[in-house]
């Protein structure tokens, strides 16, 4: 089953036994829960487009392990061309879902773990890369969605893992057995966790010798005994419970995050890829972060394409499309969006091969990409709200539009240009609302800020990678100062 069909994917999730809490209740049926389902639809689209000849060039790849055709989300990148196609695929997915489609984090995790385990084995004589490649084979053959899990809850940010009042605030090994390890802790912000077949856990930061028990990477079935999820709320999420047609802005697609709690989870050694080798934790964090910062140069751009289109339609429907300042704002939005894309492509084109054979992005450019992502979507959103007008947040509900009395008033007074139905105008404003301050704003705004690392994390990497001494030498040469 190298390529799972969309329906087979949905069915596979139905067979899983997640332990999930949402709004104070345990969820029995994750797939059909109205708050969760749109996020499943987004991941399902990664399977649907892989079956579409129109998109297979981006959505599929040739496995370096088997030679077979696989979903690109399961691929170990084999060239800079693969890295570029990854970004283009993500842009496509963002365009088609206008949401976080969640599957990138696993793709980024496997590519990071692949090269780091190879290098670890070469230096330490460990057996992690063989185990990991076995996992990769199964992932590709079964077309799994894998949730890469990195961010620990971290407790007191001023203290390291081993210095916390509660040692479980960073994921750790609490017991080593002959057959495997027992893990305790909690990963926060786990994107797409409940739409995943497996999880791939990584350390949250560079560990030191005293934090060796926290230097940990492993894979586990996402519904394994010992994993508990608590679903994250999103702004306006209960609109999905209203059963309406368009007040949620994006009825079909969404994203989700959840707390992922390891309540003494047992992991067999065969699925352990790092356990105590703290000196390799930094490389794993750095490479995963770099891949994921590259990802944002694709996915956010695709969502941005939808938002720019929505703003342009709002201008059309308001009769303001010919105003020069509106045209200029759309140009600015496009400029910002394509700048994000440029750095996503650039860090891919400048990528390089690792010792294990897969390809890694250029670290400096990937961090520049993500640093821009912490800023530009906010400005794009601001301009979209500017063009949309205040009605985006003051207009009545779709139920009022359907009311025999109130609806007549709304139909009459909220119409813009005569040729466009009032409902269409309301739909596009709800979409902009969804992207800028509704459920999708989780992915488009705050995730742009903090996902794949908060802004300061990129600035540290930019400082490390900036090669300032080379720049000083250049200036000295021009200024006539001996180098």
């Amino acid at each position: 089953m190298p390529l799972m069909t969309p329906n087979a994917y949905e069915d596979s999730l139905r067979r899983m036994k997640f332990k999930v809490y949402l709004m104070g209740e345990e969820v029995e049926n994750v797939v059909d829960h109205p708050i969760i389902r749109p996020s499943m639809n987004s991941v399902k689209m990664t399977y649907a487009l892989a079956q579409d000849p129109e998109h297979e060039a981006l959505m599929t790849a040739t496995s370096s392990l088997t030679g077979g055709t696989i979903n690109r989300f399961c691929h170990l990148h084999q060239s800079t061309g693969d890295l570029v196609k990854k970004v283009k695929m993500q842009r496509l997915m963002g365009q088609r879902t206008a949401a976080c489609f969640q599957r990138c984090v696993g793709m980024d995790a496997v590519n990071a773990v692949d090269s780091v385990t190879f290098e670890m084995d070469a230096k330490l004589g460990t057996d992690y890369h063989r185990r990991f490649r076995n996992f990769m084979l199964r992932m590709q053959e079964e077309d799994w969605t894998v949730d890469g899990a990195m961010t620990d809850v971290k407790g007191d940010r001023g203290l390291g893992p081993s210095k916390q009042a509660d040692p479980d605030l960073f994921c750790r090994v609490v017991e080593r057995r002959k057959e495997g390890i027992v893990v305790r802790g909690c990963k926060a912000h786990q994107t797409g966790a409940l739409n995943s077949h497996w999880i791939l856990v990584m350390p949250t930061l560079t560990m030191t010798r005293e934090d060796a028990d926290f230097a940990l990477s492993f894979a586990a079935p996402a519904d394994a005994e010992g994993i508990v999820y608590i679903y994250g709320r999103q702004s306006c999420d209960t609109r999905k419970l209203e059963g309406g047609r368009f007040d949620m802005g994006n009825r079909e697609f969404g994203g989700h995050e959840a707390m992922m709690i390891f309540d003494d989870l047992f992991v067999p050694w065969e699925n352990v890829f790092l356990c105590g080798e703290y000196e390799f934790s930094g490389a794993l964090v750095e490479r995963f972060a770099a891949y994921h910062r590259q990802s944002y140069g694709g996915c956010k751009v695709g969502v941005g394409d939808v938002l720019i289109g929505a703003a342009a339609l709002a201008a059309d429907y308001n009769g303001a499309a010919r105003a020069s300042h509106v045209k200029d704002k759309l140009i600015e939005m496009t400029h910002l969006n394509e700048t994000l894309y440029s750095s996503g492509i650039a860090c891919s084109a400048e990528g390089h091969r690792t010792a294990s054979g897969n390809y890694l992005v250029d670290l400096l450019l990937a961090n520049v990409c993500k640093q821009n992502v912490t800023r530009f979507p906010y400005e794009i959103a601001r301009l979209a709200e500017d063009i949309a007008g205040g009605l985006m947040v003051t207009m009545p509900s779709e139920k009022d539009l359907g009311h025999p009395v109130a609806g007549r008033y709304i139909e009459k007074y909220l119409r813009g240009v005569p040729s466009v139905p009032t409902e269409h105008r309301m739909r596009i404003l709800r979409l902009i609302e969804n992207l800028t301050l509704g459920t999708a704003a989780v992915g488009y705004r705050t995730e742009s800020m903090h996902g794949a690392g908060s802004p300061q994390a990129q600035r540290i990497m930019i400082s490390r990678q900036g090669n300032l001494e080379h720049k000083k030498a250049l200036a000295k040469r021009i200024a006539g100062i001996p180098v």
């Binding site: 290098e119 070469a122 400048e350 390089h352 091969r353 010792a355 890694l360 250029d362 090669n467 080379h470």
Partner: protein, 120 residues
């Protein structure tokens, strides 16, 4: 890139091919000088820059993008230096020269040659 004139001259030609040098993170010039001296001491002839004559190529790239070997695919035996990696493995800048020389030695042995350019 074609093979060199080892048969005619009796010494292997090692060509050092640089990347463009837009963003170097290692001292490519110094490394090239050290390589040239060591390789000539091993009896090799050293050529720098573009050209067809080469029995072995040292790609010397200032950053991990590796433009020299990416832009010059060929079937001549080679070693790829990119930033502080040699053949995609991190070695640190101070180990680049000995790592490259070790690969040239291996190549020469594989060709049935001893150091000093004489045939075995």
């Amino acid at each position: 890139m074609s093979g060199g004139r080892e048969e005619e001259s009796g010494s292997a030609v090692v060509r050092i091919l640089f990347c463009g040098g837009c963003h170097p993170r290692i001292a490519r010039g110094r490394i090239a000088v050290e390589l040239r001296e060591a390789l000539e001491g091993m009896g090799c002839r050293v050529a720098c820059g573009g050209g067809d004559e080469a029995d072995f190529v040292v790609f010397l790239c200032g950053c991990l993008s590796g433009c020299a070997f990416r832009d010059n695919p060929g079937d001549v035996p080679s070693v790829a230096v990119a930033e502080t990696t040699v053949d995609f493995r991190e070695v640190g800048e101070e180990r680049i020269v000995p790592e490259v020389l070790a690969r040239v030695e291996t190549f020469l042995r594989g060709r049935g040659r001893r150091f000093g350019g004489a045939t075995s």
